[in-house]
Structure formats: structure tokens, C-alpha cells
Amino acid sequence: MSGFARRLGGIPWREIAGEAFSRVFLVAQAVCAFHVVNAHVCSFALVMGPSMLPAMNLAGDVVAVDLVSARLGRVASGDAVLLVSPEDPRKAVVKRVVGMEGDAVTFLVDPGNSDASKTVVVPKGHVWVQGDNIYASRDSRQFGPVPYGLITGKIFCRVISFPLYYGSFICH
């Protein structure tokens, strides 16, 4: 028994604890670094659905999102952006910015059925977003201008595009 105790006492507990702590701290640092890059610099998103056809396809594209320029206010008309849906805060959607604050935007109220159009002026601090596919998109034409603060980032490149036959498979 005393031999066992002596052996137990001989184990360098202090060194082991120090080593374990430094390893854990290293992993924590890596996780934090990933979070900081993912939340402030650049992240990736999977885009699906018909609303951004033909720029982004139906089956799903993985796109890279630039978070810095949105934070600095460098988003301009014509940019495709990732934004938090104003109708459901848990959902992110991709749309194209059509008008910035102060712009007058003219849009078709019910494309496909009538030619009626409407013009609105975008209020301060808001943007007007629309899907590229105006026939199948739920956007500012329904819910009005959205606050700039909902924009998470600007989409700057497509990373992976899933093949078209996969899309037609989903479609039918």
C-alpha cells in the first residue's frame, strides 16, 4: 500500500496539469479565432431556392460572404447581400440591394399578371432589397424597405455550385 502511495506521489501532477491546461487553452484559442473570423471578416453560406435565379441556382450554392464592407457601410445598389429576414429573425435570406436611402424605387406590384407599377422613396437608414427572379421572390415589394442593420454581409464569390440535374431532381 505504501508502495502504491509512493508511486502516486512520484507522478508529476503539477507538470501534467500545466500541460493539460496549456493544451485546452490552445484549443480554446483556435475556437475563438474561428469565431472572430467567421463573425467579423468572412463567412460562408448555403443559398437555396428560386428567388435569386439566375445569379444563384435552385439547388444550392455555397457563397462567400464579406462581413467587413457591410459593417463599414460600403454596401451599394446592385450588391447581392445576406440579410436577416425581417419576418423571421432566425432565418437569413439572400437578396439584391436595389435602392439605398433616399432613392426612389419603381417596381411592378404583381409581375406576370398586370403592368401596375409603384414608386416609393426609401427612408433614412433603410435599403430596398429584391430577388433577381421577381416572379418568385418574397422581398421588399411585400414587406417594405428593411433597416440597413439587418444586412449581415456582401456576397462576393461563389465557392461551390451544385450541378443542375440535382436541381431538376428537387424541382419535380
Binding site: Q29, V31, C32, H35, G73, E87, R90, H126, P147, L150
Partner: protein, 164 residues
């Protein structure tokens, strides 16, 4: 032999690591923000230099915000500034707007925010309901100055909101 470089390098490395950890904790768990303006008197007082503890855990997965919470959100008119107000109504609720003498329903995904000091507060009564996506966190405690340390209570105006 190597001069002061190893020391400087380890110092810089620790600085970077500390910043990363701090930013992550700030973003995901809690942060401390100074309060400016008088719109939340007497709950939060900027004259006394109040610092508020903002919990961000309520934003995860399901939005754990309830009526009466003091919340921090991005201003709907100026995206760079954060605003602190009291959350009055959630989606689907009916609210009576004091100035307009009307009752309106909060649209889906939106909420109604008002300051505790209605005379000076610039809030939903002027710009209408705001999207829940602008929320940045919930104020749980005052952490500074020492004589004002304490939790921030949940409070609701009487008889103005019909809950869904």
C-alpha cells in the same frame, strides 16, 4: 543571446490570444456597454455614468426575449449606433399607441420598443415596429457605479398591450 525578441514575441502572442477570447465572449455571451442619453431614466441613468451588462445568450436559437425586458438593438435609422429601450410588445400583439389614439397589431417578426422616459425618447412611437433581427442582447444588470449595482427589473406599462 537572442536579445529581447523571445520575450516580446510571447508578450504579443498573449495579447492576440487575449483579444480573441475577449471578442468571442463579448459576441456570444455578455458584454458591458456605457449608457448615453436620458431616454431610459430612471431605470438607467447616463448622468451617473451607468454601465450595463448585456447578455447575448437570449439570441441563440429561439429568441428568449419577453415583454418588459430592457433590450439593446441596432438603430433602424442609423446602423452604426446601438440603442437601449424597453421591449413592450412581441409579434401578433395589439398595442395602443398613446399619441395616435389607435390600436395596431405588431407584424410577424417585429416588436415594439419604448423608452422609460416617454418625453425625450425617440422610439417605436416615431418609427413604428422594428424587426427582431436588429436585437443585440438583453440588459440584465447595472455593473457600475458601485452604488447602483443591481439587476434591471422586467416591467410593463399597464393596460396598453393585448397579448396574443
Amino acid at each position: 543571446m537572442a536579445g529581447p525578441w523571445p520575450l516580446l514575441r510571447s508578450f504579443l502572442r498573449n495579447c492576440v490570444a487575449g483579444t480573441l477570447v475577449l471578442v468571442t465572449v463579448n459576441d456570444r455571451y455578455a458584454s458591458v456597454v456605457p449608457v448615453r442619453g436620458t431616454s431610459m431614466n430612471p431605470t438607467l441613468e447616463s448622468q451617473q455614468g451607468d454601465r450595463a451588462l448585456v447578455s447575448r445568450l437570449c439570441l441563440d436559437a429561439r429568441y428568449g426575449l419577453s415583454r418588459g425586458d430592457v433590450v439593446v438593438f441596432r438603430s433602424p435609422t442609423e446602423h452604426r449606433s446601438l440603442v437601449v429601450k424597453r421591449l413592450i410588445a412581441l409579434p401578433g400583439d395589439w398595442i395602443q399607441v398613446p399619441a395616435a389614439q389607435e390600436i395596431r397589431q405588431i407584424p410577424v417578426g417585429h416588436c415594439w420598443v419604448e423608452g422609460d422616459n416617454p418625453d425625450v425618447s425617440w422610439d417605436s412611437r416615431s418609427y413604428g415596429p422594428i424587426p427582431l433581427g436588429l436585437m443585440q442582447g438583453r440588459v440584465t444588470h447595472i455593473v457600475w457605479p458601485p452604488n447602483r449595482i443591481g439587476p434591471v427589473e422586467r416591467k410593463m406599462p399597464e393596460g396598453r398591450v393585448m397579448q396574443r
